[in-house]
Amino acid sequence: MTKPLVAIRSVSKNFGEFQALKNVSLDVWAGEVMCLIGASGSGKTTLLRCVNQLTAIDAGGIWLDDELLGVREHGGRLHRLSEREIGRQRLKTGMVFQRFNLFPHKTALENITEGPTQVQGRKPDEVRAEALELLRRVGLSAKADWYPAQLSGGQQQRVAIARALAMKPMLMLFDEPTSALDPELVGEVLAVMRELARSGMTMMVVTHELGFAREVADRVVYMDQGAIVEQGRAQDVLGAPREERTRAFLSAVI
């Protein structure tokens, strides 16, 4: 029996009094492209950050590739993993941020090679060749030696995608990857993501781009107030939502 790549079970997360996630359970299957939609504050970004352990969960469990994240069960208790072990688990996921977060003191190429050479300890020559191939794939071969400040927002985000892919992750997480971009630059980033989806990458995408979700997503998940309200095939959730709250959200954003 095959298992989902990501299994989220009864996950809760509070920030002080604010309940960001309330008992959320969700599966992501290998090769699936999942889009998470919802108003800001609905918990979709928090859920994504929990999968990457940038945010620690308060209750429940997340399994990635059949491995429990962040903690180990021993003698009827959960023990927190060491920073090194969490770092090893993080390598299975790649993360793309809303604000790109490229390293400003490194060129596009150095941004991509940093992880493979420094963290994975791979040979610089081999990594460099792969990085150049990744830059070609995101359409930025000519910008290898440019610094982030010299690139447009769309170009920076494409470098950020290449940087995440360089670690050869099993799962790509996108946190509103086009929200910080000028409207005319959104298309080039979505095109790269579309190509990535076509290549079979498993993706979790927090997005407000409903057109992209409708076209690319295998599944759309609508969240509100820290809970999953509705999920299903893109044409069903976006085209014929069953829940009143989903309908209200969709009519507000379109």
């Binding site: 920073e83 770092g87 993080r90 390598l91 604000r99 003191h105 940093e114 992880g115 963290v119």
Partner: protein, 285 residues
């Protein structure tokens, strides 16, 4: 009246007319006044009881040159110690571990809270507390032999500097966006590697101007080591005037050397700043 295709009449043609220079009377007046005051001061000193021949004679005397070399050696070594301590303490201060945090805060409190000259005297007189020092069973020595003026000055100046530098470094690290740390984590970096590869290089850009300031302070603070017999510039100048009583002349000699060194350091700092500004300028390529 209806707007027509022709422009309205009644506005004179100003093309070809230049904006006249303002006379700036007050600037000229104040500049002249300052020049006058400066001239008076120079004249007073020239006519005062200063034997300028002594100044030029001792400016390049061997003992003075040795003094400036010792001053620079001490300033560079103590600053290096201060920067290393400062980085370590800043990292401890920002760590989630409460023990490390408290130790770091205590260090800064202690060494920032007492006068530098007092710390120098304490280090130099450590033998009064511990007549012998060493590792039990392996090695022992008399403290007076170990705690030379050089070592006492290095420890006193360096450890004191570390307390100040740690705050400069902490400010630099806090100035780097939290997203940089998160991005480093997502490519599998641990805390220390992220600090070394991602956070510190970006913090350097911010900390170089204040560190340049601190280094210039340090060059002059080494003169305090004269009280513990370290043969730096001021100490050597004093030794000469104890012998020949030319107090003001030798103080002027020392002052000129300090000025010269600081004047050379300023452009060096500019070069260093440019080195760490990589990637922050939108250069046309």
């Amino acid at each position: 009246m209806k707007p027509g295709p022709a422009l309205a009449e009644g506005f004179p043609d100003l093309s070809g007319m230049r904006i006249a220079r303002e006379p700036h009377w007050f600037r000229w007046l104040s500049a002249a006044l300052i020049v006058l005051v400066l001239a008076a001061i120079v004249r007073a000193f020239a006519g005062g009881q200063i034997e300028w021949s002594y100044v030029s004679r001792f400016l390049t005397a061997k003992v003075i040159l040795e003094g400036i070399v010792n001053t620079m050696v001490m300033a560079v070594l103590a600053m290096a110690l201060g920067i290393v301590l400062g980085i370590v303490v800043a990292i401890m201060r920002l760590s989630p571990n409460p023990v490390l945090k408290t130790v770091a805060a205590g260090y800064t409190w202690l060494f920032r809270g007492t006068p530098l000259i007092l710390q120098l005297l304490l280090w130099f007189n450590l033998a009064l507390v511990f007549p012998t020092i060493g590792i039990p069973g392996l090695w022992t020595a008399r403290a007076v032999d170990v705690m030379t003026p050089f070592l006492a000055a290095l420890l006193g100046l360096g450890i004191n500097q570390g307390a100040y530098t740690s705050e400069v470094m902490r400010a630099g690290m806090l100035s780097v966006d939290i997203g940089q740390y998160e991005a480093a984590q997502t490519i599998g970096m641990g805390r220390l590697r992220a600090l070394r590869r991602i956070i510190l290089p970006q913090a350097m850009r911010v900390v170089i101007p204040p560190l340049g300031n601190e280094f210039i302070s340090m060059v002059k603070a080494t003169s305090l080591a004269s009280v513990i017999q370290y043969p730096e510039l001021l100490h050597n100048a004093e030794n000469i005037y104890y012998a020949n009583s030319r107090v003001i002349e030798l103080l002027i000699v020392a002052g000129l050397w300090y000025l010269l060194v600081v004047s050379i350091l300023t452009p060096l700092q500019m070069l260093l700043e440019r080195r760490f500004a990589r990637g922050t300028l939108r250069l046309a390529r």
